[in-house]
Symmetry: C2
Subunit: 366 residues, 2 copies
């Protein structure tokens, strides 16, 4: 058991004081408790060096409900398209399907470490428009899920410029912002990138998703998270609030955790040292394991794998030998299916569902 | 501070043992932790005297997300109708609107204590079909929100028979099951009523919603609840599970609370006495306040109010005098609007939003 520092106890009282009636069992404001949103906004400011407004924060039961909320608001019919990365995290395909919209795929470039080429976005956008689909938003997952890349700041600038030019909403899945494992890369929020380009509220609409389920905290069972919604007019803001209020509020423990994630102990605080040791231990371990797995993949015959830059994923490429492909043909099954079944039978390893989305290109996602 | 009984500590360990890895910070099964669902199923059995299956339980972040889940599954287009009571709790109108369906109103009968007449259901059903709307389900809120009635068992039997005959899904909002304030009425779950009529899984589809936000517990900020889904085939069950899994799982603290709500201390347990005293204190206070308010309304000139039987609501009828109606006309405003504004200015009392749904009949909802 940890010794609880005086600063931790003081913080607990501060948080209780921020909750009307000190009642963690009561409904809160549908955007979340105001004092906690103040803390989160201050945390975003400290991270980005640009102002953040507590009224832009919507606390949610993890990031998933926030994504659904935005999809619900953005999608009017199957004629509305949402650009999504492929490979992607299946939350997005599921949410778009549930809300009756069209997923517009754009392909990440394995050759550039799963880079997001603006030329690819432009190509897919033109293609979409020619099919009579109205593009509404671009989903960008950074650090990448399931591809584990961290976008270069210059790449991010290109994406921001593209969204601004095309009037597209940027849905920035930034839940892995603490999970960066290479010294040459750094996490930059899309809002920070946009602001550093001189683009403000009136220039671009950005929604940033954050969660308590990732990072070094990983408290996924607590269902805490938020979205920061910038660059929308008051009428749209009112609609977002209306949708948020339909479920009354997110759970208060999750709200508190989200505020802690965005305001960890600071240098000089009594708890700082033990906090830092634990954080560093977890992130170092994740980094070590990612590197070990990356090396293991690249040492396997027929397998290549991009650098593990961030998030919690590796996305290796497995090239099956001619003989395996022939054996699959003889067994009247697809080569990847054949490989997966053999792997399952021989080792017990099961491929995750989104593998099937990507099977045609010879990739297997772990 | 309470002294924690040995049984409470023992229960905490039991619960921890039911959670894989004792990890309240990890994702659970998308329906909720199996051991907690076992407890809830046992609690339903004890309440109803009929079997309950833990696989029928879906734990959710309060009852609202469960309602949305069902609406998402039931509504294909604006040609699908959901029968809802009027007056109603606005969650239902909001959810139906969000999912693009049609709310089919049926009117509760104030003269019979906000009874739910099957003849009214039949009338609205015929009317709906004649408009080319496909009725899919009937929402019944018992005890009633915002009308505060408790349905008579005989009335419930009639509703079950109607749903069975018409092949309609019964969406039973039973979140106020502990809030019954009159000795002549008792809460009966719709599933129990159906089973006692001899109707099983193959005869009728019932979804029962329960929440930790009401009753004598009232822990609404914890966002705990569940739905019990019976009478659906395996293909539909799979679809319900798929929708549940899109948000990964509900928060674990809320899941634990839902299991506690359905399995409070029993006679003989060390904690029983203090538990019972607290429960009885809360429910007696609610009952006393409901009765006080009911009497106060009925003593006001021009105001009548049905008996406070259950839930947490009274729904008085206010008859405006001719002079007030004339004054409203002179001010070029509707009489109810005129009354509400005068009330607001004179007393600071604000009418809740669902008032407007019901304003045409001269009712004001508190």
């Amino acid at each position: 058991m940890h010794h609880l520092g005086a600063d931790a106890i003081e913080r607990a009282w501060q948080i209780l004081d921020q909750i009307p009636g000190r009642a963690t069992g009561a409904y809160s404001h549908s955007q979340g408790i105001k004092g906690l949103r103040d803390t989160i906004a201050a945390g975003i400011e400290a991270r980005d060096g640009f102002p953040a407004d507590p009224n832009d924060i919507f606390l949610t039961d993890g990031a998933s409900p926030a994504v659904h909320m935005m999809m619900q608001l953005l999608i009017r019919s199957e004629k509305d398209g949402i650009l999504c990365p492929i490979p992607q995290y299946p939350l997005y395909s599921a949410s778009i399907a549930l809300h009756g919209g069209t997923l517009v795929p754009y392909y990440l470039d394995e050759a550039t470490g799963w880079g997001l080429e603006v030329s690819e976005l432009k190509k897919q956008l033109a293609d979409t428009k020619s099919k009579g689909i109205t593009p509404r938003a671009v989903v960008v997952i950074n650090p990448g899920n399931p591809t584990g890349q961290v976008l270069a700041e210059d790449n991010q600038r290109g994406i921001v410029e593209f969204c601004k030019q095309e009037g597209l909403i940027l849905l920035a899945d930034e839940v892995y912002q603490e999970n960066v494992y290479v010294p040459e890369k750094k996490f930059h929020s899309f809002k920070k990138v946009a602001r550093s380009m001189g683009y403000g509220e009136k220039d671009i609409s950005i929604v940033s998703f954050q969660s308590v389920s990732k990072g070094y905290y990983g408290e996924c069972g607590k269902r805490g998270g938020y979205m920061e919604v910038t660059g929308f007019g008051p009428e749209i803001r009112e609609q977002i609030y209306k949708v948020a209020s339909v479920n009354l509020c997110s759970n208060i423990s999750g709200q508190i955790l989200a505020s802690l994630v965005m305001s960890p102990p600071k240098v000089g605080d009594e708890s700082y040292e033990s906090y830092y040791a634990e954080k560093d231990g977890i992130l170092s371990s994740l980094m070590r394991r990612a590197k070990t797995l990356e090396d293991a993949f690249n040492n396997l015959e027929g397998v290549t794998c991009n650098k593990a830059e961030g998030a919690m994923y590796l996305f290796p490429c497995i090239r099956l030998p001619e003989k395996a492909i022939k054996a699959a043909e003889a067994a009247k099954t697809a080569p990847d299916n054949f490989y997966c079944r053999r792997l399952l039978n021989a080792t017990g390893i099961v491929f995750r569902s989104w593998f099937w989305l990507w099977a045609d290109s010879g990739h297997l996602a772990f």
